[in-house]
Symmetry: C2
Subunit: 270 residues, 2 copies
Amino acid sequence: MPASDPSQAPLGVFDSGVGGLTVVRALRELMPQESIVYLGDTARVPYGSKSPDTIRRFSVEDTQFLMGHGVKAVVVACNTATAHALPLLQATFRVPVIGVIEPGVEATLSDPRCERVGIMGTAGTIRSSAYQYALAMRRPGLQIHASATPLLVPFIEEGWIDHPALKLVLRQYLEPLLEKGIDTLMLGCTHYPLLMPVLKKMLGKKVRLVDSASTCAAHTLRVLEEQKLLRRARSKPVLDIYLTDLSEQAEAMTRRFLGADFGRVKKASL
Amino acid sequence: MPASDPSQAPLGVFDSGVGGLTVVRALRELMPQESIVYLGDTARVPYGSKSPDTIRRFSVEDTQFLMGHGVKAVVVACNTATAHALPLLQATFRVPVIGVIEPGVEATLSDPRCERVGIMGTAGTIRSSAYQYALAMRRPGLQIHASATPLLVPFIEEGWIDHPALKLVLRQYLEPLLEKGIDTLMLGCTHYPLLMPVLKKMLGKKVRLVDSASTCAAHTLRVLEEQKLLRRARSKPVLDIYLTDLSEQAEAMTRRFLGADFGRVKKASL
């Protein structure tokens, strides 16, 4: 095996903040032998309320940072960045660039009985219509109901994921979707997997939940297999986490989103 | 009057986003003859969750932008930036730099009966201890109870300022302060003036409310008077609003926070 074997290189993952660590968690569960370099742009989080031009500029800078660390593929673990910047990133960089939207759409449509889909996401993701377009392209006639739900990220970051106020907020956001009789709810933000328990309780079994993190990890595994980029474990894999802003709060959230203790968060300058 | 009369120059105001427009609103009510250049760093909002180093770097860049527009004084209409960067800005720039914390502290202590003060603000503002320190320096023995209230800004930006979920959130944030028997509540964030109606309803007359916007405007008037920088109205004053990121949402919030229609928001690159 030559030293330059690209399959030995780490996987690059970026997000506007720490939410993308739910994708890292899913990747590590599925591919424990892979090394990962994660970049969270916590100095400029959130992307969801920003304009497409600004989101594209930030996403290119994030990807350049990962390329500088020699990654073999880039996972855009942010729905807003995927919605606005994925085609640009795929055209610009010479490694596979994988987003979070297509995998969720594929998983949603893998059930042929799916007829009415609800989507929750940040203002930027919903306004981009990326989910709506990807679903409608593949299954014309599908009923699609999208809803911007900007208060969910702040509640998740505050750690109030079982608070009565969160339930009131969720009820308000879900009501118009449930009135349309959705059978599937897509969680179009990498923060939202942390709401799975409360959403399952509120929705029961009548609505199928599709999240960005586990579907993206499964898709990444397929891409790495196809491109013969899966790492054959020789040495212990490495996880490096870089944040563009280090605060106590960001480091505490790192542990919460990753679902594991992690001591070595590093500061990145873009 | 020579062309270079500095009193004719505009006042510069910056904030991490659009919240500082509550200060602009208060400035215009008090000094309708002043021209104002406002910078909202909406591309990097919020500052409240970021580290002191990053907040200082952003604040210097914001002030440099205003200096480039020939301002006669700078109002830091952001509690987080005031808490971390005011001394640095005052030492660096050659015009008066006015923050939002001292004016609120002065207004609070102007009532000699004030004994127990509560403070609500972002995580960054509260963690900085800037309010706590400024109060304790002036009145040793004062009881001070500070509370980080990070969910309030998202609710205000969503426009849910009378929503039952907001009231639950406020109740949770206020409870420990009320248990301490506070007689004064300082609103340590320039977004919070929009919560005045709901807070007045919840607190009644037993707690005095002190906000950042009106107290800062009154202080700015005194500084301009002392330095003979008040503009004598000859021509119509100009209000220029620059945002580092333009989105529909930011422009809609501009109207809401300014309390007036405003058509000419411009894009700034720092």
